[in-house]
């Protein structure tokens, strides 16, 4: 009894340490798998703790959000009209680009169908706001304000328009914890976009995302984009991960190379995220509509290029100068950026645009002498003079 009283402090410490060591032993079983899901009791502890802290986090986040965005959302709206016009132009440009690549996409889908390749597309997402973090640089976890009541489940991918952020680690009724890709226990299947080399992306102690399972390869260059491979069954294929920031031999694991990836998303300043809650084998309906519209737009543009008489000719374009897009005169009107111009010809005749002198200079009864062809006509590649040959290709693909 005296022994217990005399050493009660040390015995109490030992008891507390033993209890926690046992708790750790229950959580981490051999073989060690840091990405394994928590057991029910551990999840319960995390849920209670988050339940206590989350309301304060929400309150603090709401105050901070109001202070930061109050000015920009309600007061500083001077340049919104101009920004809106710029964005409209940007959308038009992007639709043109989309039309240009739609044929490649269709060809890719046909090839995938031939190979019975099962592609999956994002079907549904849930937008969420980041309300907190783990608060330690040894652990990179975000708390978001949506949980199981919003349809979020464990292991769902979390992204932003710039790229991937991480995956859902724990889900509670109104909140969820997101494990960022730079956490030490995180992992993601990736592909180096140019070299098509598959790899595994992991977090490091310094909070960086790193590929560590590749040997030295001279084809891998700094700046090469890295995208998700889809092989981990968490992240859909083809989402931006980042770019290769540095390549160096890994001193701890020879002969492997430590390829540090600069994340496409600024993981320290993520405020809003999308949680991918559903996938489907086909493109979503709105994306299919966009693709069809882009295809028809692209076909119309191709026809317009080959039928110069159907459209007004821009004098600058007719003279061979670079045509510059004009801003829309009516607010809200979508500007026409790609102005069709007649295909330059190799051999001019009297029907060629610009070859005939104006009527004021003609003498009745005198023979008509064709003028010199427009500048640049001779420099065009030969296949441009044969529109029928070119126009057959897109028709065949459709």
């Amino acid at each position: 009894m005296d022994f217990l009283l005399r050493f009660r402090n040390a015995l109490f410490l030992i008891a507390i340490l033993l209890a926690q060591a046992l708790a750790l032993a229950v959580q981490v079983r051999k073989p060690v798998d840091a990405t394994r899901q928590d057991s029910g009791s551990v999840r319960l502890i995390r849920m209670w703790t988050t339940g206590v802290i989350a309301p304060f986090e929400r309150g603090a986040h709401a105050i901070g959000w109001g202070l930061r965005h109050g000015w920009s959302n309600y007061i500083d709206l001077r340049h919104v009209r101009q920004q809106n016009a710029d964005l409209q132009q940007q959308i038009t440009r992007m639709r043109m680009q989309e039309a240009a690549i739609s044929e490649d996409a269709l060809e890719g889908r046909r090839l995938q169908a031939l190979l019975a390749f099962k592609e999956k597309y994002v079907a549904s997402t849930v937008a969420a706001q980041v309300i907190g973090s783990s608060g330690s640089d040894l652990s990179h976890v975000l708390t978001i304000d949506k949980g199981s009541r919003s349809g979020i489940k464990v292991d769902q991918a979390v992204i932003t328009p710039d790229g991937i952020v991480g995956k859902v680690r724990d889900v509670f009724p109104d909140t969820a914890e997101v494990l960022e890709i730079n956490d030490q226990t995180s992992g993601a299947g990736v592909v180096l976009a140019n070299t098509r080399i598959r790899a595994i992306l992991r977090g490091t102690a310094a909070g960086r995302a790193q590929i560590g399972n590749l040997t030295a390869d001279s084809r891998i260059k700094v700046g090469e984009p890295v995208v998700t491979s889809g092989g981990d069954q968490v992240y859909p294929r083809g989402l931006a991960v980042g770019t290769v920031e540095s390549i160096a031999p890994d001193p701890d694991r020879q002969p492997y190379t430590a390829i540090v990836v600069h994340p496409a998303v600024d993981l320290n300043r993520v405020e809003e995220v999308l949680v991918i809650t559903g996938m489907q084998p086909d493109l979503p309906a709105d994306a299919q509509q966009d693709l069809a519209a882009a295809q028809s737009q692209h076909a119309a543009d191709m026809s317009a290029e080959r039928l110069p008489g159907l459209h007004d000719i821009d004098p600058q374009a007719a003279n061979g100068a670079n045509a510059t897009p004009k801003p829309p005169t009516v607010p809200g009107a979508v500007p026409v950026l790609a102005i069709p111009h007649p295909t330059p010809v190799l051999h001019t005749d009297r029907y060629t645009v610009g070859a005939t002198p104006p009527a004021s200079q003609l003498t009745p009864g005198a023979p008509v002498v064709p003028q010199a062809p427009p500048a640049g006509a001779e420099q065009q590649p030969l296949h441009r003079a044969n529109p029928m040959k070119d126009s057959a290709q897109p028709d065949a693909t459709q």
Partner: protein, 174 residues
């Protein structure tokens, strides 16, 4: 006849805190620890829960209370992060116990002593977490940047001193 009670030096200098202070100061530290890195990632170098653990342990000068304070704050910190529950709990339990034991033996109200203690215990916590992760859990992939840990100890020591001074006003002398 007047009654006399005999108290040890530890009991004489032992300080107590009101229940709201004992409850809300650690909670506020945890909350700030989660929110500050959202403002700037550089704030992640702070360890406010450790500073609060040290303050309560040193002030109370009771090893059991220090152990309990450290264990509670550490376990809450674990529950809010991706680490297994018990890593920070064990480290902070040991720190709470050791700080309280030292507090009953040396003059911890001196600023220089507090500075040294905070610096030393911050480094000790880094070592303990490293040992728990690497040896106890067998996570061979777990790494620690020791220069960064040294910087963390310096930063936390600098931040801890004004916090100690402001929290000194909340204590009740027995």
């Amino acid at each position: 006849m007047a009654t006399r009670s005999y108290m040890s030096r530890r009991e004489v200098e032992q300080q107590n805190f009101s229940l709201p202070v004992a409850l809300f100061v650690p909670l506020a530290a945890l909350l700030l620890q989660m929110l500050l890195p959202r403002l700037s990632p550089r704030f992640a170098i702070l360890d406010l829960p450790l500073i609060i653990t040290l303050f309560f342990a040193i002030s109370r000068r009771a090893p059991i209370a220090g152990t309990l304070t450290g264990a509670t704050i550490g376990l809450l910190q674990d529950a809010l992060s991706s680490t297994p529950i018990g890593v920070n709990g064990m480290a902070k339990s040991l720190i709470g116990y050791t700080a309280a034991s030292l507090g009953s033996r040396i003059d911890v109200d001196n600023t220089a002593t507090r500075t040294l203690l905070t610096f030393g215990f911050t480094l000790l916590q880094s070592v303990l977490i490293y040992l728990i992760e690497r040896r106890l859990l067998g996570l061979s992939d777990f790494h620690m940047l020791w220069l960064h840990e040294l910087l963390r100890a310096v930063v936390n020591t600098v931040v801890a001193l004004p916090i100690y001074l402001s929290l000194n006003r909340t204590r009740k002398q027995l």
